[in-house]
């Protein structure tokens, strides 16, 4: 009974917005499909690893910017989420160097 009093007005869907969501979906699918093609057609190398990382970051960009809507938030919000991730970059550098050092210590150069 109460619900009838508070009936919300349903705003019709914006076709362009829906189409945009599916376009982003298509990008994500295509990048993932391309990852599969590369996975089985290139030998393991630094270049292959870099290609995978770049593709992952592109996918992460689309998910964060469009799906999580971060691209449409204020600059302050964007920066307060993205800037702290610099610590992760540091961690990657520090621990990969450390891993290499462990390898050298155990197995020699």
């Amino acid at each position: 009974m109460e619900q009838e009093n508070k009936q919300q007005v349903v705003i019709p869907a914006d076709k362009a917005k829906i189409r945009h969501i599916w376009t982003v979906t298509l990008y994500l699918f295509l990048i993932t499909a391309a990852e599969f093609v590369i996975a089985f057609n290139l030998d393991a190398s630094i270049i292959k690893t870099i290609i995978f990382i770049v593709m992952t970051i592109v996918k992460a960009y689309y998910i964060m910017s469009e799906f999580m809507h971060l691209g449409h938030e204020t600059k302050g919000l964007k920066l307060s989420i993205l800037l702290p991730l610099i610590f992760v970059v540091w961690l990657i550098g520090a621990l990969l160097i450390q891993g290499d050092a462990i390898y050298t210590a155990v197995f020699g150069g």
């Binding site: 508070k6 993932t32 995978f52 991730l85 990969l96 462990i102």
Partner: protein
């Protein structure tokens, strides 16, 4: 004290002066973002630890076709994750993981559509898309259960441990695929992510329920859908990274 109050009337548009949410995001959404940031640190620590441990082990040298499981070097993921339900014994590298990735991306898309419907106060559409999202999450969890079982039970031939004995499957201290840490990291990283998916499904279900009984409509807005949406997309985002660093590289 009374005389010391100074009121500065300065109109600086760039400064937040109260009255509206800071950064134009509501308290709940802002806090969800900061929670996700802290969660991102946890997941990056796990994945970077994987990088460290993998770097401190020798890699397999030679042709991929000649690859065999050994404790001496880190296994090639293609050769470990090549199973598929109902297709026993066939070598189908990463196919099942690929399907899981598509399922999770799809459920992320249905979540975007649920958020979009919520912004239009379209209760029926929110119900429909939330239900699809929950189904996608449950399917993913089912796939992961199969993946774990396959990994734990092992292959028909097993693999030899350092003392020469044959071991089948994996546990936290030893496994047939490679160094002990390989299986330990598999359980930790995919398990931690899987638990996020599980809690995401539970939270999604609560919001779905609140939509169905009309609670959110009575409240007048569907912001809760946006908040759980952020969490759900984050789970998808993490899987994108797990997929690359654990399965592809």
């Amino acid at each position: 004290m009374a005389g010391s109050a100074v009121v500065v009337e300065e109109n600086n548009e760039k400064l937040w002066q109260g009255g509206t949410p800071p950064m134009k995001a509501s308290y709940g959404k802002l806090m969800m973002w900061f929670f996700l940031l802290s969660d991102a640190f946890t997941f990056s620590s796990l994945l970077v630890a994987y990088g460290l441990i993998r770097y401190s082990h020798p890699a397999f040298e030679g042709d991929v076709a000649n690859f065999t499981f050994s404790q001496e070097y880190w296994p090639i993921p293609d050769m470990v994750f090549n199973g598929m339900p109902l297709l026993h014994g066939m070598h189908l590298p990463l196919v099942f993981v690929g399907i899981m990735t598509f399922i999770l991306i799809m459920s992320s898309v249905t979540m975007v559509l649920a958020v979009e419907a919520g912004q239009r106060n379209d209760r029926n559409a929110v119900e429909k898309w939330m239900l699809w999202t929950i189904l996608g999450g449950l399917t993913f969890l089912g796939c992961q259960a199969w993946e774990w079982t396959h990994f734990i039970v092992g292959t028909d031939d097993g693999g030899s441990l350092l003392d020469g004995s044959i071991f089948y499957g994996a546990n936290l201290s030893m496994n047939q695929y490679g160094p002990p840490n390989f299986a330990a990291l598999f359980f930790f990283i995919t398990g931690f992510h899987g638990f996020h998916v599980f809690s995401g499904v539970v939270i999604n279900f609560i919001i779905f329920y609140q939509t169905v009984v009309g609670k959110l409509e009575k409240r007048g807005h569907y912001e809760m859908v946006e908040k759980v949406g952020l969490y759900w997309h984050f789970v998808d985002l993490v899987w994108v990274f797990v997929f690359t660093f654990f399965y592809l590289i």
